[in-house]
Amino acid sequence: MENEPFVPGLAGKGGHLIALEEVLDALKLQAGVLDMDAFRGQWRVVVDSSQLHATLKRLKEAWQFDMLVDITCVDYLQYQHATDRFGMVYLLACTERNQRLAIRVLLNEPNLVLPTVTDLWAGADWMEREVWDMFGIRFEGHSDLRRILMPEAFAAHPLRKDYPRQGRGERHNFPVVTRDQS
């Protein structure tokens, strides 16, 4: 049958042409790169928000980080010794060379705006919508930035640290259907 899955094993993979260190060395010279460090073997690069799009674009086009694994955000409101309010995290992966890299951007109120990366990775669409929904960070240039998980009329951004776990009573705010009415 023509659609019989073939099993290629690892052939064609594993050609570690470019080491992650080379990428990092090149990144050091890039404008807007503020800091880089590793924890448990995972490299993270902190980038200035104005240079975020350019850096990601370069990583994708020059260094083949072709997959955007995830976009997420952390609210550092109650974090000890934290200097900034929000930290955005872009987790990238290179499927060819099997490398991972995390790009972080620090944001503070009232400037909660970042450029969208949907033009680089189509997969960023929903991830950015989720970050907007949960943390209230805007993505400039996103074609359809609506709430994705919460109802459209919801007022708060629930994953922010100043929002209580049990909510502000929204979950009790519905009409009651009784046996008689039905």
């Binding site: 023509e2 659609n3 019989e4 899955p5 073939f6 099993v7 290629p8 094993g9 690892l10 064609g12 993979k13 924890f39 448990r40 995972q42 993270r44 072709d66 997959m67 955007l68 694994v69 995830d70 997420t72 952390v74 609210d75 974090y79 000890q80 010794h81 995290v89 987790l91 499927t95 099997n98 991972r100 995390a102 990775w121 189509a122 997969g123 960023a124 669409d125 929903w126 991830m127 989720e130 949960m134 359809d144 609506r146 709430r147 994705i148 998980l149 919460m150 109802p151 459209e152 009329a153 629930p158 994953l159 776990r165």
Partner: protein
């Protein structure tokens, strides 16, 4: 909240009057759970589809900021409820990465066994439900019966049918017993025949092939660009499988293949799932036969799991250790740092991004859910196809609502 038409999506459609829109879900048999689609149709042809999700958003990530590392595993059970074991393993894999714990070999092998059994169970439901949606009910019943057997194994392993909460930080809730090993061996013996039966039912079935071949095609580049992982990406020719690419647990020692296809359509996804079940069974067989002896929990100074009852009652060390681990100001202390760790779950890359803040509760527990990413590609896959293909494509994507919405 009333069900309002989503604004902004239909301006074009309104101009062309012959287009009409159909609301699909959130309560519809073929959505399996709670998905909602707004389809724009031209006759029977789907012009556009706008997914509307969040009908099962229950605040998993917020709970993760309030439960400690061992408690939260119960909540991860409920995330991808078709394969909870894989979620347990994924969560504690990430936690151990944050804490810098290396679990003992026996624990690694047992975790491999349970996640591969979960993989089989998940693929059975995914393939079965896809068959169900295009009209193959018997196929589904065959699959579900085998799933019951896996439930039985899990039940004798940890006491719960499918909300297992089996893993612990640095170990497992309990060691495997000879009875369970016997049950797993039984399953290994019986399963290939059933799998063959199932394939005989569907793989060369004309109706099934006609309804799935060439439907919902995803190319390799699109798959990568849209962050697709797991069997769906592999059906499109992406050879990425974290078990091979970043061998975690004991996968480095085991021999298995990655199943791929180049077609990228619904039929290819079905085939990849069927073949992956075989490979998973191979992994389980190797792991159960080569199960190393030794403790399942990290021991000594690094100890994170509670000592067993016997030790607590009979020895002073046990009592002290138990006390130390449970005191509110003792216990685990995660470093103030962040890690991302992922495993190959049945649906794709399931990762957790954990921020530690010096306590035993995550400051932020982000889950990277494969279903979320996969549902985002749905409009792209369905455009231009018939309305009856909607269920086939949905079935082949295997969207789990609780993982989608968390």
């Amino acid at each position: 909240m009333p069900l309002t038409l989503l604004s902004g999506q239909f301006s074009q459609a309104n101009e062309r009057e012959y287009l009409w829109s159909l609301n699909f879900g959130p309560q519809h048999p073929a959505t399996h759970t709670t998905l909602r689609l707004l389809l724009t149709l031209d006759g029977e042809r789907v012009v556009d589809a706008v997914p509307d999700i969040g009908y099962l958003h229950s605040g998993f990530e917020k709970i993760g900021e309030h439960l400690d590392f061992n408690q939260y595993v119960t909540v991860t059970d409920r995330m991808n409820y078709v394969s909870p074991m894989a979620n347990n393993v994924a969560w504690h894999h990430a936690v151990e990465q944050l804490l810098g714990i290396d679990v003992p070999p026996r624990c690694k092998y047992l975790r491999v066994i349970v996640s591969e059994l979960a993989m089989i169970g998940d693929h059975l439901v995914a393939a079965g439900a896809m068959g169900l949606d295009v009209g193959a009910f018997t196929f589904f019943l065959y699959g579900f019966y085998q799933r019951e057997k896996i439930y039985d194994i899990f039940e004798s392993l940890c006491g719960a049918r499918f909300t297992n909460s089996y893993t612990r930080v640095g170990g497992l809730s309990q060691d495997i017993t000879p009875l369970t090993i016997e049950k797993i061996r039984d399953f290994i013996k019986g399963f290939p025949a059933v799998l063959r039966d199932m394939e005989n039912l569907l793989t060369r079935n004309r109706v099934f092939i006609d309804r799935t071949q060439g439907v919902g095609v995803l190319t390799r580049d699109e798959a990568i660009n849209r962050s697709v992982t797991g069997p769906i990406a592999r059906a499109s020719g992406v050879t990425r499988d974290l078990r091979k690419d970043e061998p975690y647990l004991a996968y480095g020692d085991l021999d298995f293949k990655i199943c791929c296809s180049e077609a990228g359509d619904c039929y290819a996804r079905y085939l990849v799932r069927m073949h992956e079940m075989r490979e998973s069974l191979k992994i389980v067989t190797q792991a159960i036969e080569n199960l190393p002896a030794g403790p399942v929990n990290v021991d000594g100074a690094q100890r994170t799991g509670l000592p067993d009852k016997h030790q607590v009652y009979q020895t002073i060390e046990g009592t002290i250790e138990h006390f130390e681990l449970l005191m509110s100001n003792r216990g685990l202390a995660a470093p103030c740092d962040e890690v991302y760790a992922a495993v190959e779950a049945p649906n794709g890359e399931l990762g957790f991004y954990i921020v530690g803040d010096g306590t035993d509760v995550a400051y932020r527990a982000r889950c990277r859910p494969p279903s979320f990413v996969h549902f985002a590609i749905f409009p792209h896959l369905i455009r231009g196809h018939q309305i009856s293909d909607v269920v086939a494509v949905l079935g082949s994507l295997n969207i789990i609502a609780a993982e989608l919405d968390r």
